[in-house]
Subunit: 306 residues, 2 copies
């Protein structure tokens, strides 16, 4: 059994890769970027994973449903509402039904299971917690929700800090704890280490459970050299005082993880990472197509004996 801790856009490819290799995959998903918009509860990371596994994801954008239309949003614009958060028309239905279920007392775990069933997704997608965690970014202009920072303001301002509001009180999802405990191998997907994987590691129970089995935990670097393959990972790492390369990542994960996959281009960092008592595996970590997703997942399952 494989358990993957995943964010959204940066993580979905390798999640798909593992699901293609193994029939028993758990995906523990980040909830720190969930957001309320028009009274709808939007869960970008959960939806990206579910849509991705259902082969419905808009691959080009990395979020939303492919070929979705945006007339709901266009009408919101007519009404003078904010439209920076791009909810598609089909996507709006997902968000509305989820919100209705939440208001009727269902928890996010059950709702996510319902969603997987409706989309015929066989992987077990588990929100890391049913409590609220909110990833907030401090910039020189003030503190705002991650979605506002990255989507609304397009990540323009200097990041001065990152907070995970609610993470200290969030109860880890018992199913997530079991999925870590029972797994043959646990993967930290190449999502943003601060805003996708980070919020999950901030939950004490998750961190503790991972640290217990850290020999089985394999992180995949989202960076090549000093830069992220996509997204603002490097920027957030620098803001958090972390070296923005595979070594910085390894150091950040070293309490919960004993294995790291780095790009062959990062050969120069291998020794330094090994000094953290971590095993380092070099391969091609960019995944430009389905073949590359499968190849990376397969490499990990074949080469990294945990």
């Amino acid at each position: 059994m494989i358990t993957v801790l995943a964010g959204g856009t940066g993580s979905v490819k390798i999640v798909r890769g593992f699901v293609a290799q193994d029939s028993k995959v758990n995906v523990i998903t980040n909830v720190g970027d969930n957001y309320w918009m028009y009274g709808l509860y939007v869960c970008p990371d959960i939806d990206t994973i579910v849509y991705g596994l259902a082969d419905l994801l808009d691959q080009e954008k990395g979020w939303g449903i492919k070929k979705d239309t945006f007339n709901f949003l266009r009408q919101m614009e007519v009404f003078g509402e904010e439209t920076w958060f791009r909810i598609g028309d089909r996507d709006a239905a997902t968000n509305l039904l989820r919100t209705n279920m939440l208001k009727n007392g269902k928890n996010l775990s059950d709702i996510t299971k319902w969603m997987c069933k409706k989309f015929a997704v066989t992987a077990n997608v588990i929100p890391v917690t049913d409590n609220t965690i909110e990833t907030r970014i401090t910039t020189n202009k003030g503190e705002i929700h991650l979605q506002e920072y990255w989507v609304k303001y397009r990540g323009m301002d200097k990041v001065e800090g990152i907070q995970y509001i609610g993470s200290d009180k969030a109860r880890p999802n018992p199913e997530a704890i079991n999925a870590i405990h029972d797994a043959d191998i646990v993967i930290l997907a190449p999502g943003n280490p601060l805003t996708s994987i980070g919020p999950m590691l901030q939950i004490k129970g998750i961190r503790k459970e991972l640290s217990k089995i850290k020999r089985k935990v394999v992180a995949i670097s989202p960076l090549i050299g000093d830069n992220a393959i996509s997204g603002p990972a490097a920027k957030y790492m620098q803001a958090a005082g972390i070296e923005s390369n595979a070594y910085g990542l390894a150091k950040m994960y070293s309490d919960v993880c004993s294995n790291i996959i780095v790009d062959t281009k990062d050969k120069a960092l291998v020794k330094k990472i090994q000094s953290l008592d971590m095993r380092v595996f070099e391969t091609k970590i960019t995944m430009k197509n389905k073949l590359a997703e499968d190849a990376l997942a397969n490499f990990i399952l074949k080469q990294v004996h945990v």
Copy 2:
């Protein structure tokens, strides 16, 4: 000042006709066909009037926004939800914002004003009441909401009765009372007399106010001969024990209305209607285009001296 009591599809044309003639038009709208769907509060008659006046109405269907897409609904179908009530993607935005405002304590009158403002509709659209009235149809198979009867089951079953749940306790909108009281002329639009105009006449305060100024009230027949120009008016009238022609309509309205516009084809009914102490005006009542809408409104304003 002109005040029109209006339903949706059958009423919007003449409403548009009057708005083209006069800058001060009040439209008192039916709420008996409002319906909850996916947790959204849908107001078909209000929306048909507002979309119609904003030149956004899908003229062919007679409801919804023209050129709207239906991907929200398509996704609802994927989720196994009922989709017989056709909410378009842009329409979903209207319904969501209205529902949010209701839940935040706004009443339907204020929400409708907000909507008119957003769509640059200058007519004063007034829900007949801010309370709930539900028009329900009794068939041989049981009692169901009007929308279910007409949209979900396509009006297949025999109608045995019509109820207006809540109409006895509904407080008339004070603005509607004023709009009737202050009007130079009050029009009963050619909406369905049982399910569009009927629910409004069931509110005691509305009925009383109309009866006080019945000499100023002009009804437009939605029937030619024994048949409705469109929709199930004849069927409902028969079920209610009312003759399904302009005479039956006149009799039904005779407490609240002293003038009726009938089609020239209904010449044979004129004397019988006059015996109800009503003035009868004959003209062409079908409105196939904008010119015909204007012509009928103009005929009434010029010929019917109230």
